[in-house]
Symmetry: C2
Subunit: 475 residues, 2 copies
């Protein structure tokens, strides 16, 4: 405490801003504290509307989104229905998309139209595209003509495409202009310009992109310089129909900050900036983790019944896998009756196979998503995983063979579990890498079904090899 | 083919660029094709050095990084040792960090120093920080004094901190300047400026940040306007010691494109831009997926033995879990001997618990990482997961109870497996959400150890409830 005071002797206005931010960070993090959330909930429940509206209007969009995500469903609906105008309208672009849909669906079309009117066209599309078509229609007809046309055009592009992601406001300058003329234009046209931009696009009279000029390049050039001498021709024009996942990969790969979006005739129709892409990168990475775990997007915010039913499907497929494995065990019922130690040990073989396979699978799924794995190195990766499986299989076979032999005083049992372990870990490596690669090549998403298929393999191979060898050598 | 030709009647120079990019995208994607990789490998093996150098120098940094990631280890070392100067030096910033370390370690300190000299200071730090300390030292002493000092200062910040991420070149302007004076300064100082910048920082004489001005705001203002009227005071100064994960969260949360980095005295010392942060976001998301799967960063590129040994540890911990579960089964050896159906069915109970628990766990781990889960909603999430577990537990209990009763013609067995299933899925929900939340509160990384702990719970509870109930009601 003391050290802090000495470090900051004068509390000038501009410094205050900095100080607050740093202190915030030194504690549990930034954003809303749990205490602030509780305060707002209290104000809501006790009907202190003035205090509530005041507290809400003070929140930035991200903080308000955090608040709405963390309160109960009833409180959220109450907050939005009674106090929608107090919220920063951008709060809805910061929220989980499912939660945003549910929240806005509780409002009247008039209220939603009022919120959307205050947003940029790309944010407006992000929000409206998640609503029910009938509700969308109703809202759109309450908007100004300009925004209505912009939204209708935006919605005509495929979902999750560059066309939906792009901002329709951009700065395009003819290639024969000079730096001076461009700056004068920017100063005069200040109302027609997008709120934020990083580059100006240089175009031909037919709106084809010649190249782009980052603002810092423009601002440090003399007024007499012609734009054509500044243009970076290394642009990456993005067709409006490109999938947003590809857009994100392109930005990441080429370290872009913005890119022009073009229509079928290759004419400039919009711009995608990196801040839009960060959300996509985040979303895609999140989707993969959730898919691997067998859950859908937005699960955290779904109501109990929706969560239950959406998870049921994945669990049901897993049940079929488990029953299949049980059938395999059932084939050896007589053997187990004679040597009950088999029943005790068999889950170890299956579980080690499952875990080793999951390691290989995770690496492969991730590498496929990041485009680090393709035809040219696929065979090498599968081969590597098979060798790794063999090596770790041998190591664990030795460990588990000795444990089993000592535990049950039966060295043949030790040899049987050791052999089964090696066999199952080899299969785990081979299929752990192979299944996602094959699914990917067949055009399926490897994150969704790889895990179930792999578990089937490691369970069946594990039980079959262990109990099969036992039936031959032990009984 | 025909449609394409008609659509683009004249092949003007500026349009060509666009055309190439779009065609590339319409095929399997962008970047290197497998055929191009094979061509380069062929040239390498047959010693066509001219063709090789030509092909390599044509590659952008990202493409070259893809090439080096996909060729064999021997080819990679050969390419780098014999042809390092032909590569775009930024290739090393685009590579997986482990692979980059291995590749550079194969070169002499002189060659590495030559590569590093061509990079920006932040890229140079990214690369050099991964090398062995002794090798780092050797390289640093071959660099120019300026770069050496910059690197030594950068390396004095903690690993994965804002200080390592930041760029040391930035534009800082006194607050009493006008727009015109600033533009004149930028035009004159063109050599001292960073290669790219999006904002200028407005500072006090003591280098404290007053605020920032995005370039587009500067360029559209009249020359006579004073900077203090343009300054956005809503800056987010980042202490140089802040963890890069927090930096990424701040950028994402506040939709920043750049932020000033400050030292202990709160003086401006650098700037972090969004393109640096995109890599961090990517990396962090990737780390979580890999940790949940029980593998480390860079696993894809590790040699077989390193991969084997790094995965061994995780598998070993899982072996202990599996042995613990076996002990539980061992307690009921006599029961299993009497009713072999128990051995056949018991993996189903454990496996369903494991899968249901993993669903809850994945959602919780992800929500913790995204800061969507904290004290204020933790109890509600745990409670929700427990209810979801109860509901799905009841559903699967009914299904599996009927199957078991029919399969073995024993309705008590059906009732036993049904009860065990409900019990295990309730525990799965409770612990699936609870374990990551508790680990997080204890300051551990929930992505690393949650899975093992959860499997222990669902295995032990599954076997114990199923076999225990069977011992009471069936024998």
């Amino acid at each position: 405490m003391e050290a802090e005071t000495t470090r900051r002797p004068e509390k000038e206005a501009p410094d205050k801003n900095i100080k607050d931010d740093t202190t915030e960070f030194n504690e549990s993090g930034y954003g809303l504290t749990d205490a602030e959330i509780l305060d707002i909930e209290d104000a809501l429940h006790s009907g202190y509307d003035d205090a509530l509206v005041h507290a809400i209007s003070d929140l930035g969009a991200a903080d308000a989104a955090e608040l709405l995500a963390k309160v109960t469903d009833e409180d959220r609906i109450k907050l939005i229905q009674d106090h929608a105008p107090a919220f920063n309208p951008e709060v809805f672009t910061e929220m989980d998309s499912g939660l945003c849909r549910d929240s806005l669906s509780a409002l009247s079309a008039d209220k939603v139209a009022a919120i959307i009117s205050e947003l940029d066209s790309d944010d407006a599309i992000t929000i409206i595209q998640n609503l029910e078509p009938a509700f969308q229609h109703e809202i759109i007809h309450k908007l100004s003509v300009n925004l209505r046309v912009a939204l209708q055009e935006g919605l005509s592009f495929p979902e999750e495409s560059a066309g939906r992601l792009m901002q329709r406001e951009f700065v395009a300058i003819p290639q024969f202009w000079t730096v001076g003329k461009t700056i004068d234009y920017l100063r005069a046209a200040t109302n027609d310009l997008p709120e934020e931009f990083f580059d100006v696009f240089v175009i031909t009279p037919s709106y084809h992109v010649v190249g782009e000029i980052p603002l810092n390049r423009l601002i440090r050039s003399m007024r007499s310089v012609k734009l054509e001498h500044l243009v970076l021709e290394d642009t990456h024009p993005i067709p409006a129909t490109m999938d947003q996942e590809h857009v994100a990969q392109l930005f990441r790969r080429e370290n872009l900050t913005s890119a022009p979006v073009i229509d079928e005739e290759e004419r400039l129709i919009g711009v995608i900036t990196i801040d839009d892409v960060v959300d996509v990168i985040d979303e895609e990475a999140q989707e993969d983790i959730l898919k691997l775990g067998g859950v859908g997007k937005g699960d955290l915010y779904h109501a109990v019944l929706l969560t239950t039913s959406s998870r049921f499907r994945w669990l049901f497929i897993n049940l079929l896998t488990a029953i299949l494995a049980s059938f395999v065990i059932g084939l050896f019922g007589a053997t187990i009756e004679q040597v009950v130690a088999l029943a005790i040990l068999m889950p170890i073989v299956a579980s080690m196979g499952g875990n080793a396979g999951t390691q290989a699978l995770t690496v492969a799924v991730r590498a496929l998503a990041m485009r680090e794995l393709s035809r040219s190195n696929a065979m090498r990766i599968i081969w590597k995983e098979t060798i790794v499986g063999t090596l770790n299989g041998t190591a664990f076979a030795t460990i588990m063979g000795i444990i089993a032999a000592l535990w049950f005083g039966n060295s043949i049992l030790g040899a049987v579990i050791a052999s089964a372990m090696v066999i199952n870990l080899i299969f785990a490596g081979l299929f752990g890498a192979g299944i996602p690669i094959i699914l990917h090549r067949m055009g399926s998403d490897p994150a969704i079904s790889s895990t179930v298929l792999l578990t089937t393999v490691t369970d069946v191979v594990g039980f079959l090899s262990f109990l099969g060898l036992a039936a031959i050598f032990l009984v």
